[in-house]
Every structure is written in C-alpha cells, then in structure tokens.
C-alpha cells in the first residue's frame, strides 16, 4: 500500500510536469493518504470488500472525512487512472471535467476526462457509506442530513447506532425528526439493547403497531432453526415441536433433517441409482441380472439391492426404515436470533398484530377492488348510454377511449404544465370524441338502427380502422401521459393500507359521471327526450321531439364520456393504440352483467367484476392471468343463468 502511495507520488510529479497549467493536488494531505491506503478496494467498488475503507474514513477523525464520504456517495469522486489520486470532479461536457482537491475542495482546473475514472458506488455501497455517515449527520444542523441519517439507520440498523441515536435525541428541535428519532430508538432498543427487560418493554410498547419496520424487527427476532433429536429437548429456547407429515413439515423434509443430522441413512434418487447400476455393469449384467431386463424401476431396485448385498454399493433406506426413523425422532424449532424471553415476547406481539394485519389487508384489498371497479365503471359508463339506453352496439367504444387518451398526450406536447394540460385535455377529449361519436352516428349507425348485428360489424370495422390509424400517426410505442405532481404518491393510512392519489381521482371522476348521468337523464329536458325516444320513437316524434337529433346527441354524449375516461385511464396506465381493446370486452360485460338500461346495474356490474377479480387474485397471487380467465368464465356462467343481468328491466321496457 505504501509502495503504491509512493508510486502515486512519483506519477503525480510526472503528471504535473505534463500538465504545467494545472495547480498540483496535495498528495501528502492526510485524507488523500488515507484513501490511497485503500485505493485498490475503493477503485474496485464492491460492497463485499469496501468495508475497511469506509470504516477507516469514518473512524479517522479527520475533519474532511464527512465531506469525502458525502461526495463519494453522490458519485462526485473520481480518480486518476495512473497515479490513483482521488479528486472531486464535476462534468463540464462529455469529455471534460472540472476537478477539485479533496483535501480543501479548492478548484484545480478543467481537464479531459480520459485519464480520470469516476467512482460509481452502487446502492449497496451507498448504503454502507450512509451508515458510516450516521455519526456525523445525526446532529447535523441541516435537517435534510439528519433525515438522511435516520433513513440510513432504518435501512441498515446496527447495534452501534443505538448509542449514537440516544446521544442525538437531546436538543432535536424539529418535531417530525424528533418523533422519528424516538421511534427508531425504540426499534433499536428492541433489537439491540443489552438488557432483556428493556427489550421486552420496547416490544410491549409496540403492541398492535402495523408498521412494516416493527414487524421486520419482530420477525427477525423470532427466527428459528429446525432440528431433530431422539429425545424431546429441554430448554426455554424451543419454540415448538413439529409433527412430520403436517403442513409445517413434510415427510421428505423431516427425513432430510434426520439425514443431515446423520441420524439416518440417505435415500437414493432415481438418477443416482441408475448411475450406480451403470457403474457396475459387468459383461452385460449387473449383479448377475441381465442389463436388457432392467427396463423397469422394480427390476432396477432388485438389481440395486443385489449390489448392496454384495457390498459393492451403500445400502439405502427402504420405505419401512424411513417410517421407522421418523417415528423414533422428535422434530422441533429452536429460537436462534434472540434470547428465549425476548423471542417469546416478540412472538406474542406478532400474534397480536396478526389479526389487525389481516383486517387491514382485507381493507387494502377492498380499496384495490373499489379502484378497479371505478376504472371499469368509468370505461363502461359511456357504453351504458350508447348500449344501455340506445341499444347500439358500438365496438369502437374502446377506440374512443384511446382517442381521449391520445388527446391528452397531444395536449401535453403543447402545454408543458401538467395541471393545466390535464384541465385542457379533459374537455378537449370530450369534444373530440363527441365529434367523432356524432360523425359516426350520422354516417353509419343511423342507417342500421334496426339491424343490431350489422351495427356490431360496422362499428368493428371502424374500430380496426381507427386503431391502425392511431398506429400510423403515433406509432406503436406507448406514449407518456404524465399526471400533475399533486397526483403523485399515495394516500397512506398505515403501512398496509394505502391507495395512490391517481386512483382516488379516478374514483371521484367515476362518481361525478354517475351524478352527471343521473342528472342529465332524470332532471333535464334532454334526458326526458332521450327516454321518450328510446321507449317509443314514433310517439316521441309526434310529440314534437326530433328523434334524429336526440339520437345524435345521446350517442355523442356517450362517446364524449368515453373520451374523458380515456384521459383518466391513460394517466394511471399507458397510452397505446391497443388500449381500447383492453377495456372493450370488460366494458360490455360490465354493462350486460349489471343489466342493460340501468345505470345502477352498470355500477353493480363494475363492482362485481372488480371485487371478483381482486378476490381471485388474492386467492392465487402468483398468477394474475388466471384471475382474468376465471372472471370471464364466471361472467359467462352468470349471464347463462341471469341473461338480463343483475338489475333486469321488467315489462315493456325489457322488450324495447
């Protein structure tokens, strides 16, 4: 190491001579010296080996250590590839950097970056540096640095942090930070305090707390190891006894425990048995049995047994021996991470949290389901008008959703303020899709009012044309539609229950549209006329209503809502030319399941579909695709048995 430092010095002289315009760095500065001692591992930059270097810096007592650690963490430290000397640097452009001395931070000058290499500590190393910085930052005047220190402790709690944290609790003037410090102190006490009583008291202090951090510590403390023995072991550290063949311990695992404790002979796998047989083939036979007859497992077992008898191979346990061995031993779990008293207290605390946790998980699932239901409802509400009220099958409904989303994207291209752009995009999307809907009704649908199947096909033709058109204009890649900053993040009730603001916004939007729908249909002249026209167009016409106009407006209204739904869906998911396809079948299902012609039915349908999907996902969390499959299956069956949906219209209206 010293040799390297000396070499570095010599190189530096060369470098200084080569670049006379630059002021020399100070290689003799103690901090540089210290870094040079660990130069190799710092340059290697691996979490596994970096420990000593950080340790040395942290404990060096040098005043510059904190700054060096901080800037290293921020990827601002570079080193000269030949001399190995460290500098701070800022990139000026692609090939030039401005370097600074690490000892006093003074500027040295602009140099080409060819000779220098940036240190890029990965997030593991950054975490370690953060841990080392805790001692400096806990009482730092800058509250952001204090928060950073607390984050570092939280991510990587160590016994050493406890004293430092306790020392830094006094004189904390920021109430939020003080509260966090207090909580962290209790957590660290729980895990690291030397006195068992203090630990148990801390555990009890957290009774019923749902925090992931608390459960993390508790779970670490109740860690157990499995064991097997001939006699039931004594001792407070035995967590519980296990029965082989139960849910917690399969027979194979139990026997594995015995084998690894050398309490029983191993069993042999099929491959190993075959290998043993192959190894002992002599003159076309194994232990006197002809190879050609070994085409079944039974014959191979016999041959192996014969070999074992001859002492050529190790005998293996038979089924009976396995059963006997399992019978003769007891299996148990032993606390290994904490003294038994503490572990038991932790176990009790965890048990108490369990129930509340279950309730909260159910609440979170319900929120997710509600959110999904509101998305389906929003996607389907336009359809509830065009299909539910007018009985027009519009397969291009999904493409109207897509058009709305792309409208949002285009607006964001021109208006860079996200809040403003969304405020413009929502009405604009309505106008665009309203126009598209009216055009489609005038040009195509009105000729097909009495041929519903043909409407379906014609609108499908429009759907594929619109989709391809979107691809031609915007490309197939997903386009960004970014939510304004105030919709970032999520509403957190506790560490289990939370929901993102964007989903809440969609929920609110869905409610608004429900209200709007009800208002328009039941409280306005338009709604009255719409209902009149759908119930009996001739009668309505003779009352002075123009059915053509009403149909056009209604269809436009339904399409316009689809456009707004598109903006909302684009905000939370993605904007692609195929996004409409993701919603069209589900939307029709929602309307049909709920019962055509009734907005409350659509609401119920959406809730049912959302709840069901989340419920199935919860039962089978590893396969979301299965959830969708079973949901479709359920809907098919549901419609078979209740063809008119949950809320079925009765009487004449049903026949319309």
């Amino acid at each position: 190491m010293i040799l390297r430092a000396v070499l570095g010095l010599a190189m530096l002289v060369v470098a200084t001579v080569a670049a006379p315009g630059l002021r020399a760095q100070a290689p003799e500065a103690p901090i540089q010296h210290l870094l040079q001692e660990h130069g190799e591992i710092i340059a290697k930059s691996s979490r596994r080996t970096i420990g000593p270097a950080i340790e040395a810096l942290a404990t060096s007592g040098l005043p510059e250590a904190q700054v060096v650690l901080e800037r290293w963490q921020a990827k601002e430290m570079w080193f000269h590839e030949e001399t190995g000397l460290f500098v701070f640097a800022e990139e000026v452009d692609r090939s030039t950097i401005k370097i600074f001395d690490i000892a006093d931070g003074s500027e040295i000058g602009d140099v080409p970056d060819d000779d220098y290499k940036q240190l890029k500590p990965n997030s593991g190393i950054r975490g370690l540096i953060g841990g080392a910085l805790v001692q400096f930052q806990l009482s730092d005047p800058n509250p952001r640095n204090r928060m950073r220190a607390l984050n570092a402790i939280e991510r990587r709690p160590e016994a050493g942090h406890l004293a430092a944290l306790r020392g830094a609790m006094e004189g904390e003037d920021n109430p939020a930070i003080a509260a966090r410090k207090a909580r962290l102190e209790r957590l660290l006490t729980m895990e690291f305090d030397e006195s068992e009583e203090a630990r148990i008291a801390a555990i009890e202090g957290f009774a019923g707390d749902l925090g992931v951090d608390v459960r993390a510590v508790l779970n670490r403390m109740v860690a157990t190891r499995r064991g097997a023995a001939a006699e039931a072991p004594e001792g407070a550290d035995i967590a519980r006894l296990l029965t082989p063949g139960s849910e917690d311990l399969s027979l194979a695992d139990a026997y594995g425990l015995l084998v690894s404790a050398e309490l029983a002979a191993p069993r042999i796998s099929r491959d190993a048995k075959r290998a043993a047989l192959v190894a002992n083939i002599e003159n076309g036979s194994v232990a006197g049995i002809e190879v050609a007859t070994l085409g079944s497992e039974g014959a191979r077992d016999l041959a192996y047994a014969a070999l074992a008898e001859a002492g050529v191979v190790e005998p293996v346990a038979t089924e009976a021996q396995v059963a006997e061995a399992l019978e003769a031993h007891v299996f148990f779990e032993r606390y290994v991470a904490a003294p038994p008293g503490v572990a038991q207290a932790a176990q009790v605390a965890l048990g108490a949290i369990e129930l509340r946790l279950g309730l909260n998980e159910a609440a979170d699932l319900a929120l997710d389901a509600l959110s999904l239901a509101s998305i389906y409802f929003l996607a389907a509400i336009g359809l509830a008008i065009t299909f539910g009220v007018m009985r027009v099958i519009n397969m291009a409904h999904g493409e109207f959703i897509m058009m709305g989303a792309y409208t949002g994207y285009v607006v964001q291209l021109f208006v860079s303020d996200y809040t403003l752009s969304i405020l413009i995009a929502l009405p604009l999307a309505f106008l665009v899709t309203f126009g598209a809907g009216v055009a489609m009704e005038r040009l195509v649908i009105r000729w097909l009012y009495h041929r519903p199947l043909e409407t379906l096909l014609a609108t499908f033709g429009i759907s594929i044309a619109l989709q391809q058109l979107a691809k031609n204009i915007f490309g197939t890649q997903a386009r960004p539609l970014t939510a304004p900053g105030w919709l970032d993040g999520s509403l957190v009730f506790n560490d289990v229950v939370s929901i993102s603001y964007i989903r809440i916004a969609i929920f609110v939007l869905a409610l608004l549209f429900l209200a709007l729908f009800l208002f328009v249909m039941n409280r306005t002249r338009l709604g009255l006329e719409v209902r009149a026209v759908t119930q009996n167009p001739r009668m309505a016409a003779s009352m002075g209503i123009n059915p053509d106009r009403i149909n056009m407006l209604t269809f436009g209204f339904g399409s316009g809502i689809a456009g707004i739904a598109g903006v909302a869906i684009g905000l939370y998911a993605k904007v692609t030319s195929e996004m409409g396809q993701d919603y069209i079948v589900q939307s029709f299902m929602t309307v049909v399941v709920g019962g055509v012609g009734n907005i409350w039915g659509t609401l119920l349908g959406a809730s049912l579909v959302g709840l069901l999907q989340k419920g199935i996902e919860w039962m089978n969390p590893s396969n979301t695709l299965a959830a969708q499959t079973y949901m479709i299956l359920f809907i098919i069956l549901f419609i078979q048995f209740r063809p008119r949906g949950i809320i079925a219209l009765k009487g004449r209206a049903a026949e319309a």
Binding site: S123, A216, D368, A478, Y572, T624
Partner: protein, 428 residues
C-alpha cells in the same frame, strides 16, 4: 475506433487478394434476409432492428461490399404473426435465395422459424436476450443467454445490494417462465429459502398493478431486504413503474432490476421517480467508448436526433460484422463454410472488450448493470469481464448435464453423463 479500422483494412486487404479466387462461387449481389415484424404488436421493437440492418448493410457496401459483391437487403414483414415467420423464412430461403437471415425477436417467432431453417439448412442471427435451453446448428444467438444477463444481475443483487428476499415478476410467456425457473433454482443453490422467493405472472399489457406492488412491499415485513427481478415485457412496464413511483418505493429500499427495459421502453415514461432502479444488458447507449460514440452518431444521423440505441442493435452490429468477417475468411457465403469460419470469430464490442463466437453458437460478452437516470438513459455502475454464453443452463438439473458444441462434438444437445448426442435437430 482504430481497432475497427484495422479490421476493416485487414478485411479489405484479404478481400483484394481473394476476389479472383472466389468470383465463381459467390453470385452477386449477395442477399441478406431481414425477418423483422414491421407491423403488429412487435413492430415497435423490431422496426428498429430492420433499420439497423439496413444501416449496417449500407455501411458495408460503402466499405466495398463483401467478396467483391454488393450486399442487398431483402426485407420481409412477418407482421408479428408467428406462423407467418415460418412462411416468410421459407420464402426468403427458397424464393429469394438469401445467404443469411437476420431476424426474430420473440422466442415464439424463433421457434416458428427453426424447423424451416433446419430443413433448408439456412443461417440466422438472433439478436435478442432469450431464455436459453436451445441450440440449433442453423442459428447464431448474439443476444444474451440467461447466464449473461439474469445470473450476473442476481449475483449483483446478492453480493452488492445484499438482497435476501426476491420477487420475480414477469409477463406470462416463455422467457420469464424459463428465466424465473432458472433463477429460482439458482437462488436456492445460493441458500435463499423457497418461501423467500415470490413469483408472479401477469398478462401482456397488464395495467392494474396496485395489488402486486402492495404484495411486494408486504414482503419486507419479515425484516429481510427485498429486491424485484422484473421480466415484465413491453408496455406493461409503464403501468408497473407508475404504480411503483406512486407507492413511493425508492431504489434504496426495494431495488428493481429489469431484463426487458431498455432505452426504447423508458422513452414512454417520466423517469424522475425511477432514478436508481436497475437494468441488466450487454449494452447501454451511455457506454463510454469511441466505437460507441461513432455508432450512436451514425444512428442519430440516419434516423433522427431523438432516436436511441439499444442492446439488440449492438447484437446485430456484432453478428453482422462477424458474418462478414467469417464469409471473407471462408471465401464464400455457403452456409456450412461460413458456420465453420464463425467459430472463434472476434469482434470489438461497443462497450469495450472483444466478443468471441463460441462453438455453442453464443457470444462471450460483458454484462453491464445500469441505474436509470432522469434523462431516460442508464448510468453503467457495473461491468463484468466477458462471460461466455451458455446454451444449457447449469442451474436446472435436467440441463446441467447438457452441453452444446457444434465444432468438436457436432451436437447441440450433448449429454455429458451418458456421453450421447440427444438430438442433432432441435425439437422446437
């Protein structure tokens, strides 16, 4: 840069001496088939590769062509329709009579083309990272095998980030399935308990991620550091990363490493909330070498300033240049001659170092891990030495005994335990 120059000059010199000898066995122009979807769902990824091939062929023609002939690109569109890949491949080989094909992206399209290639003894270069467990005499795999992407990334999680609990999230298709299978087996070898590995599969284009993200967060409740290995494909990533950002998950708490998210995919996203999450590839546009600078500049000049480069493009770049050099060395574009000349071919990577073609039809390439930055580019924080690609993974018991060696053993699926060749042709 200078190295490329030397190679080109050397190739040119070789060419000049070789022209008279081979004028009879190479018919001009030499046709290069490009089998990438230009329409349908895969068009977005594959069109870029078609453009790459056209650029490479144009560059080669400027540099004097090959064996004294001009190269001609024959572009067909299999339209993201998997049966159509087989049909178009047959058309390329029998009707257009191309000498080599560069093509395919998805595994299923490759599997569709395989029987045709093997029947007609064609030659294809496949440029995308894939799940391995395959070795065809007629395909050179210039993308990463699992041990060149998934395994090193997992090692990085284990060693550098200290991850103790894994969430393997993937789209439900063959690449994530096989990769996750290998990873599960690998992690258990490394001492991670089976219950500390959470696996989830979602459909293509999935958008409702709240439950899954909540599940991942909940994994942290037993005090172990959680990491996510994502094989989520295509635009489903948009929703996933949005939900991740909304849940406020920082890369320091739960790092996510993705195998299918590159510069192209990030262009559909606002990455400010994703800074620090990771991706593993053999190439990033941000690689700091002279070759890469020239490559990126040439690409942007041809295609526009806003276009980005990505890993499969580099795979085609290496594959095409190796093919050119192999054909030059063989003095012919005959498939068997080129194939023999391919083994041991070396070509400089855009990320530094040299790629070598191995007898198992895979490349030895370095593995890079990058952190997402605000500008949608990746900051390369780890770069390994060249890792030789492995057709059959060492981490599944059935595959561990298999090796592929087309040079010595002339077998793509050789069982080292029984010392027999399981099969010469693939079973698709």
């Amino acid at each position: 840069m200078s190295k490329t120059l030397v190679t080109t000059v050397a190739a040119g010199a070789l060419l000049a001496t070789a022209i008279p000898a081979m004028a009879q066995d190479a018919s001009c122009p030499i046709k290069v088939g490009v089998l990438h979807s230009l329409s349908g769902t895969m068009a977005i990824s594959e069109t870029t590769l078609k453009d790459t091939m056209e650029m490479l062929i144009a560059q080669q023609n400027e540099a004097g062509g090959l064996l004294g002939c001009e190269l001609e690109a024959v572009v067909v569109d299999p339209a993201s329709d998997w049966p159509l890949f087989a049909e178009k491949a047959r058309e390329l080989l029998t009707v257009q009579e191309v000498d080599v094909i560069f093509g395919s992206w998805t595994s299923v399209s490759r599997k569709s083309v395989l029987p045709v290639l093997e029947e007609l003894n064609g030659l294809m270069f496949y440029p995308v990272q894939y799940e391995g467990e395959e070795s065809s005499k007629n395909v050179f795999y210039t993308g990463a095998a699992p041990n060149q992407q998934a395994i090193p990334a997992t090692d990085y999680f284990l060693d550098e980030l200290g991850v103790e609990k894994f969430a393997l999230l993937g789209t439900d298709y063959v690449y994530p399935r096989t990769t996750n299978n290998i990873l599960e087996s690998y992690l258990q070898d490394k001492g991670i308990a089976a219950e500390d590995i959470f696996v989830n599969y979602t459909p293509f284009g999935h958008s409702d991620w709240s439950k899954i993200v909540a599940d991942v967060v909940a994994l942290g409740a037993d005090g172990k550091k959680v990491g996510v290995i994502s094989t989520i494909n295509g635009d489903a990533n948009v929703g996933f990363y949005k939900e991740l950002a909304a849940a406020g998950i920082s890369a320091d708490d739960i790092p996510v490493v993705a195998f299918s998210v590159g510069e192209e995919e990030l262009s559909g996203l606002d990455t400010s909330n994703l800074v620090g999450h990771l991706a593993a590839w053999n190439y990033f546009q941000s690689a700091d070498t002279a070759e890469n600078e020239a490559w990126v500049a040439a690409w942007k000049e041809r295609m526009g300033e806003e276009r980005v480069t990505n890993d499969p493009m580099e795979a085609h770049y290496i594959g095409f240049n190796m093919w050119v050099n192999a054909a030059t060395a063989a003095g012919s574009t005959d498939v068997d001659a080129v194939r023999t000349a391919m083994y041991g071919q070396e070509f400089p990577n855009l990320t530094g170092g040299t790629a070598v073609m191995l007898p198992n039809h895979h490349l030895a390439k370095p593995v890079l891990i990058g952190e997402i930055q605000e500008d949608g580019q990746f900051d390369i924080i780890s770069q390994t030495d060249e890792v030789p690609g492995d057709a059959w993974t060492d981490f599944l018991p059935e595959s561990a005994v298999l090796v592929s060696d087309w040079q010595e053993l002339e077998c793509g699926m050789f069982n080292t335990q029984t010392e027999t060749c399981v099969q010469i042709k693939s079973n698709y």
